[in-house]
């Protein structure tokens, strides 16, 4: 009985192995997240600096819109 189950299982695996697997390409290109090394506590510490850079270089960052 046990042998039958195992044989059946083996057959199932063998059959499954032969079924071509269709892999659908995603619509959007796969993006690698480059921000893995960003430390959140560093970002928080840099808040004032970031604000200052934005305010002193308005031409580089566009008019924005609130």
């Amino acid at each position: 009985m046990r042998a039958h189950i195992l044989t059946g299982l083996g057959a199932a695996i063998a059959v499954a192995g032969c079924i071509p697997v269709q892999i659908q390409a995603p619509d959007e290109p796969i993006e690698i997240n480059l921000n893995v090394n960003i430390r959140q506590e560093v970002i928080v510490r840099l808040e004032r600096d970031a604000e200052e850079l934005l305010e002193n270089n308005e031409g580089l960052f566009g008019p924005g819109g609130r």
Binding site: E28, P29, E31, I32, N33, L34, N35, N37, I38, R39, Q40, E41, V42, I43, V44, R45, L46, E47, D49, A50, E51, L53, L54, N56, N57, E58, G59, L60, F61, G62, P63, G64, G65, R66
Partner: protein
């Protein structure tokens, strides 16, 4: 001779007046137009990017690249002063850009995951997770 000197000094004064009246980096009308047309947008990495499928002419490409070079110079200098990586300084600025937001309604932006989104009046800008 005297007249030439007078003209030269007048020109020098005019040049100085123009130089002092201009902000450090004047608004680039071509870049701002491209933003509102959805050709380019702010990215979560702190730089400008090209929206996929947009037709970008050589002039615009050059302006974006120059803008990014200037940003990188700013980030690099401040990062060195603070003992952080350039990417972290850039990300901190991106957080400000996304939180304020420095992205107008209708403009496109690239979120942390790399997907391009359009800011709408109803939906808030997707602020990167590292902003805290």
């Amino acid at each position: 001779m005297k007249r030439n000197i007078a003209i030269a000094s007048a020109l020098a004064a005019l040049a100085a007046a123009i130089a002092f009246s201009m902000p450090a980096a004047a608004q680039d009308a071509a870049l701002n137009q491209a933003r509102s047309q959805g050709l380019i947008g702010e990215q979560a990495d702190g730089y400008l990017g090209f929206v996929p499928g947009a037709s970008i002419n050589a002039d615009l490409r050059g302006r974006v690249e120059q803008n990014n070079i200037q940003r990188r110079a700013l980030y690099t200098r401040r990062a060195a002063e603070r003992g952080v990586s350039v990417n972290e300084m850039a990300a901190a600025v991106a957080c400000q850009v996304f939180e304020r937001p420095q992205i107008a309604v209708g403009e496109r932006y690239r979120n942390e995951g790399g997907q391009w989104r359009q800011r709408t009046a109803s939906a808030p800008v997707e602020v990167p997770s590292f902003c805290g």
